[in-house]
């Protein structure tokens, strides 16, 4: 299915056009990589609303990718259960490994490192959301391996 077909399908599912806005933003994120101004304007057209309204909705939700984000997200859960299970030092280790000094995205645009609020997987703390995947009982070695695997694959592209 094309992106347009998927958007039409999403619109068909809901009683109102606006209800399809969150799903449409996900589809456009796949299309453009991030929620860019173009994506905002396109979502507004599909839902018969204004770009300002769509931007207002988009900016409320943290899970959409911002334009300044890298291709892969590394979210270290930092809320209470993970915090008492060592997420702070894990975050620092990842930050050092990626050489992030005062920035959150690597210069090659591949990785964005962020502290996340509770990811809802406290039984396997500390938890890292690596792009879409949850990594439980996370340690720096596991994260390093994932980073290197992506680096290798990306260099072949």
């Amino acid at each position: 299915m094309t992106f347009d077909q998927r958007i039409k399908e999403a619109l068909d599912k809901y009683p109102t056009k606006n209800s399809a806005l969150l799903p449409i933003l996900y589809i456009l994120q796949e299309k453009y990589g991030t929620i860019s101004q173009i994506a905002i304007e396109e979502a507004a057209k599909w839902t018969d609303s204004s770009p300002a309204f769509v931007y207002g909705v988009f900016s409320f939700y943290t899970f959409y990718k911002r334009e300044d984000e890298g291709k892969y997200r590394i979210w270290v859960c930092s809320t209470i259960s993970c915090s008492v299970c060592g997420c702070k030092s894990l975050y620092e280790q990842i930050k050092n490994y990626l050489n992030l000094n005062g920035v959150t995205t690597t210069p090659d645009g591949l990785f964005t490192l962020k502290k996340a609020e509770c990811l809802g997987a406290c039984e396997i703390a500390p938890v890292v959301q690596f792009e879409d995947e949850y990594i439980g009982n996370a340690d720096i070695e596991t994260i390093k391996n994932k980073i290197e695997l992506i680096r290798t694959n990306e260099s072949k592209l």
Binding site: I80, V84, E117, C122, A125
Partner: protein, 431 residues
């Protein structure tokens, strides 16, 4: 002491195929939906759940049958059932594990509940981060459509039902039912003033019931095992099994299906195996980060809605977070305050500003710049947040502030007197 209880909701979770339709059907799946649709009237379904005295498992503990009965009759409007799968209360992970392992039990619960309230369309609002769980649930829904358990003529009856699986996009507040409905309508996740309650004016201004994942799964099991089974478990006012989440400094963190009304210390020590590295307990958060905190000598408390309320706390999601003797309680509360400040939707001034001020005060105390008035100011702010906002997110921070400061007052005071955290190296979770 361990109790004599045989798990029902989670009994097949060790089987790698428990999420598949075939497995579900082999174990009696969709029989209850079929029986309800063919043998019972909607009012009888509501009465049945009322009699079971099932209380919502999302945190508030409101009677599920009662909630269903609030749907107005013959209004001529569409009616909606919405399943709240936006699980985000820190410490809570039960709904995620339920969806991973038994998505069809949720779908069957939704069929029964939708039939009871007269809904022909139902929504599942799942949190955006649960990408894997979204896929599992989506597959299960497709399987159900293909096999005639959803869509036109559910289970071969006249009743038709569609389920729309809707992904959230990262906002704790969307777990609040009216915020969830705003979000489902494609808006910012702003809570709405109640009344009108969703049962009268909910999704698209139509009568809507919002139920938690565990609640709907439990509904299915009450029909399968009977009211007597259900009420024989737990306490008279809080009957039935409950999924307890154990996390933090506990040897065996995880999901435990046990009767409501367990003693907290049995959960922590007999099931959780006690504190990691055999350290001592400093505090236990009983029901998710908004629920308060108990000291090591208070762990004989009964985990039901009434006993925690009597202490000015809440059972919430029964998500137990164990904190060992090395945890700095100022740091722990700062972490919690940061969470609620981050997640405040910003509509109401007391919550938006209050949560920010509390976070700043705690940071200042932890970093050694606290003044002797700070604790009083913080308590005043917390008190002024409660009951002055559209939703209870403000209360969700005010409760832990009150109980952390009350129970660990000396530790908070020592931070101010000695200009910093004596435990800094061990704590340090926020900076």
């Amino acid at each position: 002491m361990k109790v004599n209880y045989k798990p029902v909701l989670t009994r097949f979770f060790s089987d790698p195929n428990s999420h598949r339709l075939n497995f579900y059907l082999q174990n009696g799946g969709y029989k209850q939906a079929k029986r309800v649709l063919t043998e019972m009237k909607p009012e009888e379904v509501i009465d049945f759940i009322k009699k079971s005295n099932l209380r919502g498992r999302g945190g508030a503990g409101f009677s599920t049958g009662m909630k269903w009965s609030f749907i107005p009759k013959n209004l001529g409007k569409d009616i909606y059932l919405v399943c709240n799968a936006d699980e985000s209360e820190p410490g809570t992970f039960k709904d995620r594990i339920l969806i991973e392992n038994d998505p069809h039990a949720l779908i069957e619960g939704i069929i029964i509940a939708s039939y009871a309230i007269g809904a022909k369309k139902s929504f599942i609002y799942i949190r955006g981060e649960f990408v894997e769980q979204y896929k599992i649930l989506n597959n299960a829904i497709q399987e159900s459509y293909v096999s005639g358990y959803l869509g036109k003529n559910v289970c071969g009856t006249n009743y038709s039902l569609d389920i729309i699986l809707h992904r959230g996009a990262g906002a704790y507040i969307c777990g609040e039912e009216t915020a969830l409905l705003s979000s489902l309508e494609g808006k910012r996740g702003y809570p709405r003033i109640k009344p009108p309650f969703p049962a009268i004016k909910g999704l698209y201004e139509s009568p809507t019931i919002v139920n938690n994942v565990e609640t709907l799964v439990t509904v299915k099991h009450i029909f399968e095992n009977g009211i007597e089974w259900f009420t024989s478990i737990g306490t008279p006012k809080s009957p039935g099994p409950k999924l307890y989440c154990l996390s933090g400094h506990v040897k065996k963190p995880g999901l435990y299906e046990l009767p409501l009304g367990m003693q907290l210390k049995d959960l922590v020590f007999d099931y959780g195996g006690g504190v990691k590295n055999d350290l001592r307990v400093k505090g236990v958060i009983p029901g998710g980060s908004s629920s308060g905190v108990l000291k090591d000598d208070e762990l004989d408390i009964i985990m039901d809605f009434e006993s925690l309320m009597a202490k000015g706390m809440i059972l919430g999601t029964a998500s137990v977070i164990v904190l060992n003797e090395n945890v700095c309680m100022v740091d722990a509360l700062w972490n919690i305050a940061r969470f609620y400040h981050h997640e405040s939707c910003g509509q109401c001034t007391p919550c938006r500003e209050g949560s920010g001020w509390i976070e700043k005060l705690l940071e200042r105390i932890e970093r050694g710049h606290g003044t002797k008035d700070d604790l009083k100011i913080m308590s005043e702010i917390a008190k002024n947040m409660v009951g002055r906002t559209i939703c209870v997110l403000a209360d969700a921070l005010a409760i832990p502030v009150e109980h952390f400061v009350k129970r660990y007052f000396n530790e908070f005071e020592a931070h101010i007197l000695h200009k910093g955290c004596p435990n800094r190296q061990l704590a340090a979770s926020n900076t």
